[in-house]
Symmetry: C2
Subunit: 326 residues, 2 copies
């Protein structure tokens, strides 16, 4: 007996960001066969956005042999509800401030199943499908970017919660009361307020202003310091830069202790610009975790860096949702 040929060997992934919408056609091994993009915000309403998307997509669909070769489409998007397939009140999307049934709109136009979730959940499915979480049943992906996001997998299933919106670990409270930093969500003390790109930049300014210690970072405009700048300085042994990573890693490591109390994952997987610093940030995370975690969890969880290629990771993650549709 021969194995059945895979009649539909590809899925479409859409990484829908505030600025760009990047499309990729991906095979089951995570190879991107064709890619295209449009500007997300060039369209005032969602109908125009979908029309432009379909026009762009049609070209790459034809390149891989037509829509019959494609099993499904997955979308990673802000404020995406997996259950309803809607974008719900996305503050950063011109056409996404209401309830937008984007999955159904694409499905109607393409004639294939379409599912949608937020970018961090997409990253988690991506790691499970193509990345370092292959074979794992219990793990947490933490995305460190403009915000801090998370995708949680328990018993081999992504956690969507009762409403499709679960996995907002960037918004657990790390500093309670008045000392907590204001977060983009309007509350104070969230993990995101400390460990997002802007959080790290703020930590840099605070630490620089509190000491006279010489630092390469003092050569930069304090308002424009990025985690890449901190990373480069830390790599050169800059004391202040390493202090910034110590502070950031302590927040992340201690947050992971609470996450372990919740679901005792076999791995925490970090994704995003910050972890390009490698051990400079991963060691402070691990050290804070080991110093603080409950005895019963000590030494059990791995701390890993995403196995997905940075440039195409978001598209790969989105595409993986397509394979996941039953």
């Amino acid at each position: 007996m021969n194995a059945q040929p895979i009649l539909k060997p590809y899925v479409i992934g859409l990484d829908l960001g505030g600025t760009n919408s990047v499309f990729g056609i991906v095979d089951s091994r995570g190879d991107i066969k064709a890619t295209t993009a449009i500007k997300t915000q060039s369209y005032q309403n969602v109908e125009d956005y979908v029309n432009a998307s379909i026009d762009a997509l049609q070209i790459i669909i034809d390149q891989v042999g037509g829509i019959d070769k494609i099993k499904a489409m997955g979308i990673g998007a802000p404020n995406a509800n997996y259950y309803s397939g809607c974008i719900e009140k996305a503050p950063n999307l011109v056409w996404g401030k209401g309830i937008v049934p984007l999955a159904k709109m694409f499905s109607d136009r393409l004639g294939i199943p379409v599912a949608m979730t937020n970018d961090a959940n997409a990253a988690a499915i991506g790691e499970m499908t193509y990345g370092v979480a292959r074979g794992m049943k219990n793990f947490i992906v933490i995305t460190l970017g403009t915000g801090v996001g998370s995708g949680i997998v328990i018993n081999g299933q992504l956690v969507y919660g009762s409403d499709g919106m679960a996995g907002e670990l960037g918004h657990v409270t790390m500093v309670r009361g008045k000392e907590g930093r204001l977060c983009g969500c309007g509350r104070t003390g969230c993990l995101e307020a400390y460990c997002s790109a802007t959080g790290v930049a703020r930590t840099a300014r605070e630490i620089l202003s509190k000491s006279e210690e010489p630092s390469l970072l003092r050569e930069l405009n304090p308002e424009e310091i990025t985690s890449l700048d901190v990373s480069i300085a830390a790599g050169k042994g800059d004391k202040i830069a390493n202090e910034i990573f110590e502070f950031t890693g302590k927040m992340l490591g201690e947050a992971c202790c609470d996450f372990a109390a919740f679901c005792s994952p076999e791995a925490f997987i970090f994704f995003g610009g910050l972890v390009k610093a490698g051990d400079l940030i991963m060691n402070p995370i691990k050290n804070a975790y080991n110093a603080h975690v409950q005895n019963i969890f000590k030494g059990k969880a791995q701390f890993l860096i995403s196995g997905l290629d940075g440039a195409s990771a978001a598209v790969l993650g989105a595409s993986a949702i397509g394979w996941d549709i039953q």
Copy 2:
């Protein structure tokens, strides 16, 4: 066609506590048909404990028609690992300080399947089987007793994590740094250090010592104040007692905000002595939650009190694990 008769209509539940071990034989509606108990700590080794258990059980097994009527046994016990069926390093059990394969020992003696988990996980399965969580797929049970425990259900499955030990929400950190109260786990600032029975008593002493406000609680020995005392005083409008519940409820409500960020449950279900105070404690929990939770989760979760009868709840919870064995 007639429905198949239920050939094995009962399960055995064992609530294994530090002092007493209570056994019950339970039907599928949660009616306890027979019950017995032994002293947990009267036995120096686990073989003697199991022998005494079997002797006591045999009498009630005979009462319901013999072992052929019994499908399985569930055990709720401290430091129980669901995957291995072992009690692991239980500090409060004379014969449980090593790794004790208790599920297998009972299974070998009774000839039926036996599964074991901790008491809070048992409570969660109990609520899903017989209590207020019937029909729910995503909820968290928080047990407030000598300690603070939790059982988490996601997608209709109890969360055991990668090692069988997940769901330790009593040990998320609520107060970071040096101000955190010392917890029984050896760390500081845990939810349990504030919301367990001893935590509430400590809060009572702290609040009483900080003010001159008259209070019924001043008539008691400060070292012996219980949550029941606080509850009685609060019910009479005692200002200090209500302040104690406000403080405790704020801790629990704010902790639930972080839990919502994790898995967005449809309900938080509270179990234990403290919630006998009803609205006096539940309202502060709900108010703190509503004031602090992320906008996307506002108004979604219910706050419920356990639907299991207090006296037999632990045995019912343990028995429910028996129905859950595949």
